[in-house]
Symmetry: C2
Subunit: 304 residues, 2 copies
Amino acid sequence: MITTLAGGVGAAKLLMGLTRVMKPEDLTAIVNTGDDIQLHGLHISPDLDIAAYTLAGMVDEEKGWGIRGDTFHCLDGLRRLTGSEWFNLGDGDLATHIFRTNCLRSGATLTEVTVEITRALGVKTRILPMTDDRFETRIVTKGGTMHFEEYMVKRGAKDEVLGVELFGADKANPAPGVVEAIEEAERVVVCPSNPVVSIGTILAVKGIRGALKRTKAQKVAVSPIIAGVPVKGPADKLLRGLGREVSAFGVAELYGDFLDTFIIDYADADEKERIERLGVEVKVTNTLMRSLEDKVRLARVVLE
Amino acid sequence: MITTLAGGVGAAKLLMGLTRVMKPEDLTAIVNTGDDIQLHGLHISPDLDIAAYTLAGMVDEEKGWGIRGDTFHCLDGLRRLTGSEWFNLGDGDLATHIFRTNCLRSGATLTEVTVEITRALGVKTRILPMTDDRFETRIVTKGGTMHFEEYMVKRGAKDEVLGVELFGADKANPAPGVVEAIEEAERVVVCPSNPVVSIGTILAVKGIRGALKRTKAQKVAVSPIIAGVPVKGPADKLLRGLGREVSAFGVAELYGDFLDTFIIDYADADEKERIERLGVEVKVTNTLMRSLEDKVRLARVVLE
């Protein structure tokens, strides 16, 4: 049993690699839901969908999200009806949002709907939302506090980050199975995802950090920062906004209290000693995942 | 000011013709909502959409409903998620359903949403739902009572009709503007729509039949039956189910208490005298609308 903490694109790549070197059904992904957003009355769970689509082999690999070859006719229609439309919703993708929203309105939990969706897509890996409760990542900027997707997608992550608010974190409980998946795993893998708004949100759900400290599992993380630059996304801006160092070391500091091993890129080999001083073992390897071979190779290192 | 009572495809054809021979903004269509259905948590208004798409010039003319050239990727996705899917929902079409549902959930009325939709699509004719209240046409069959769309689309109108139930008719009020549109019109045109489940439903909303009797408008109807056969749809099965004659005369009987003029096809000229004995003037013409010219010509007869 391997349990991972996962955000979006970077995590999905490593998950894909892991499913090639172990039995997919022995893998559990605890996925960030802080990016979840209601648009047009639809409940959208970006990271859950990226994980499911990737593991179902249907993700648009070029973009890292959405469904390969999807069309956008509904979005065109919504644009005509509402005058503006900033979030990308593919036609095939919408089926997931419509189905999820309808199930949630009928009283199902996000965990239950996710089981239905992954089963229908033929995904054998267990995908768990970090929480079934409302949890919304908000970014504080000079122009105001906004939903993470608004900061990220609508405004192109161009605002200076003054802070991050995790709305609902004080009340959100881990989804059923989350704490058990951490406690009963041989190994917990923290994917190379945004340490603030993907992994940071998961760690902010009460009970999860405690379970990570308590579990006998080996806890391994992969740095999402290579040579001071995030592989994807605005981790640099967010780390900086929180007064953190934008480096593998900066990330290691955030995980130091529970982490056993940190996997960093060759480009960051000079940070090894600093990180080890946090009490964390360091492995240096190639962490960039471009091809399937890269993903499989990194997955092997993670499981070593 | 011309006001029409309208169902789906047949009505939309005549509406299209009317907008070519008069100012579209002087035309009001009171549209059947008895076919409205909730699917996947979306509020679908088949007849309102047929009217709007037709008048916006975007309808799939071959089918008579939906958007020309639409794709069905979301439907494919829903089929995968739910295992079955019987109602056709095009991707572009879904934008309307999503927008409508979201507005209704936010407290807007169906009338208000319809204004938004028609405005966005550039439709100048006023399209009014017959009611903002819940109203659901149900067909009684040996196998049970079912929603009209279930009888029609899911089961292909193959069940013997034992009766029709208009759920909510006792409580549904005419939508704002409906009674006024009838009272203040020069002419009220009953479109060649199903006399039971399209026009019959409109007439069942309290106050509408009374307004038709009271108004000083000329009241003209076009027969949806030609030579004992409905131009489209299951009007024959429904009339028969209610013990009615499947003929222009059978339809005239249903409208006789308020109608001034009934327009029937040459094929039914021999019914002229029987219909006139109901106290209704009869015009005989070509009522089949295939081409735009047919629609315009019939519209001219209707306005004569």
